[in-house]
Symmetry: C2
Subunit: 367 residues, 2 copies
């Protein structure tokens, strides 16, 4: 087991990474204050891990909350089911909400924990690669609104993140790839040597080699924790974590939540950000193509959906959270391994990028 401490003053918490951590009672009891616990999970994960986790928590009064599975359920109606369960079982302010599942479960359980009686304790047990390297670190919680993704939520830190790498054995390959999109992102934005490591190890990652998996998760969490430490409330540098997300959110919104996986949309969005960085002359075509190749080896899409026109992107991006006072800001690569957040680009470069992505970029499919 490896442990990473996220340093946020009195709200600091540990991230434990290793095999079969779901069975380690002491990792939980160290971070639980009361006698009540609610385990929030979904219909897919519950049959796989709920009994084992309940066993681990046998010293506590456990309320299971089993939600429907999928991004399309990341809304208020589903969130209410958590509140109903907590109030129905009379959970008090000393309760702990444990998220057992992927990013959707983590986001909803975390937001529920932040709002239940104005805030109760929260532990993350992420069971997808995406949530292990992304959603479980950084304190972002929330739900979607029909007019935009993650528009309702809170910054709320967990008391602990417990990552059991063995849970990835039950993850569909498509979701493993989606998680790799975020892993590759860390290399692109702040760790160029990690890109080389990933090129050498991407096949072993896809084969779930436990040693490289632990290394990749640890390195990703450390990269994210470093960025988050520097900027907890996303006023500045933290926004570089959103490489590919502004384009990606447009794809997810346009296609309808859940049609494209988040990581898939981020992958195509990352390629669009690379293309734009290339148009601006900040990275070379060769560097752009190197990153596209790595994403392709991770079995990820590298072009947006064929039906999305440039105008569709512009409309969706106008309500993105990165828009400040009407000015669009994007995460781009100043060079490989160094991202910047900037609104300082000619409008026509954005339009050229969108046009290039619409149609012409399909050439990369065969590259």
């Amino acid at each position: 087991m490896q442990t990473l401490q996220v340093d946020l003053g009195e709200r600091s918490y540990p991230i434990h990474i290793g095999e079969r951590l779901i069975d380690r009672a002491e990792l939980f009891s160290d971070r639980i204050r009361g006698r009540q616990v609610a385990v929030v999970t979904n219909e897919t994960v519950a049959p796989l891990y709920l009994d084992r986790l309940t066993q681990t928590l046998s010293d506590y009064s456990v309320t299971p909350v089993i939600l429907p599975d999928g991004e399309e359920h990341k809304n208020w109606q589903t969130l209410q089911l958590i509140f109903d369960a907590l109030l129905g079982a009379r959970h008090d302010r000393n309760t702990t909400v444990i998220a057992l599942g992927g990013g959707v479960i983590g986001d909803m359980a975390g937001y529920a924990a932040s709002s239940y009686q104005r805030g109760v304790d929260f532990i993350q047990v992420p069971t997808t690669l995406l949530s292990q390297v992304d959603s479980s670190v950084g304190g972002k919680t929330g739900i979607n609104h029909p007019l935009g993704k993650n528009m309702i939520g809170a910054f709320y830190q967990p008391r602990a993140v417990i990552i059991d790498t063995a849970t990835l054995k039950t993850l569909p390959p498509r979701e493993l790839s989606a998680g790799l999109a975020e892993v590759i992102k860390y290399g692109l934005i702040c760790d160029e040597p990690f890109l080389g490591w990933l090129e050498a190890n991407v096949d072993r990652l896809r084969a779930l080699d436990p040693v490289v998996l632990t290394e990749a998760i640890h390195r990703s969490c450390a990269a994210k924790a470093k960025v988050v430490n520097a900027d907890e409330r996303e006023s500045g540098v933290r926004a570089i974590l959103n490489l590919g997300h502004t384009f990606g959110h447009a794809i997810e919104t346009h296609m309808g939540y859940g049609v494209w996986l988040h990581g898939e949309a981020v992958s195509a969005g990352t390629v669009m950000a690379l293309e734009m960085s290339c148009q601006l002359g900040w990275i070379t075509r060769m560097e752009r193509d190197r990153a596209i190749k790595l994403l392709q080896r991770a079995a990820l899409p590298v072009v947006p959906p064929a039906q999305m026109k440039p105008q569709d992107f512009l409309e969706h991006m106008a309500v993105d959270k990165k828009v400040l006072d009407g000015r669009l800001r994007l995460v781009l690569l100043r060079r490989m391994g160094e991202a910047v957040v900037t609104g300082d680009f000619p409008r026509d470069v954005l339009e050229t990028t969108l046009s290039a992505s619409y149609g012409a970029m399909t050439e990369h499919l065969g590259a």
Copy 2:
């Protein structure tokens, strides 16, 4: 105009109190960062003050959000209307949400501000005495759940509180009295000399004498700010602000939200806490009756609804936030002007209090 600074480090904010402050543009512009503003109000307050406030904010792009009036609308469905309006008008993260109305509007607008894009700026313009002395100070925001009051919410501080005492001229007398319940509470819990001042001035307060009104609001806000400063997240001493609230919430829940005004329920609940303090020998019957008399002079109810049986109270109180690990904690008076939070009382004293309140205490009605 008097100004009180609530000292919470980087989240400190001013409380301005005075006549016609709604018209003072500089009080707002000093605390607004962006160009967008949403004014959240209700159908009762909008015709009275929305145009004036919009006039004051003429330098900004103003989105009015007019909600239905009443505690029964303090729920997720109504909260969604705020999010719909913000997203519909494409408000970004630099927007400011302004609450124009009573406690329900303040609680909902504040919770919406805390959750919109994970947190945007928030200014309170409370227009009822209750919200001026209570809801607008302390950072509590939230909505009700069918199983309990204020069960969903956040601790979220405003950027400013702007109290226009002239707005009380349009307040129904019953709601003015409800506000006085909280004013009297401050005397009971932490400021015994204030009780004497109130006994001398309660009639002038009810007649809306602007000088005594300003003094009472200022003294109440200062008392609350002092308690909140000491304990922002309600882990300890802050709970004394809930004198009468545990019994009061039971009354509100039992009667259905909105049937009894919050301040009316708190008044009857306060008398129950006084009765229990008296049973424990902490205050004398004369002191109890002195406080009851003051509440009666403020035209407040001093007994719970006749149909509420002791068992009804016990059931509702079991899900109250003051319950920690199954143990009921109550705010009681150790002596006049000094409240304590304690779970350290014989169960039968609680039951005797509830029985006394049910029936026998009607004698006070004629006192």
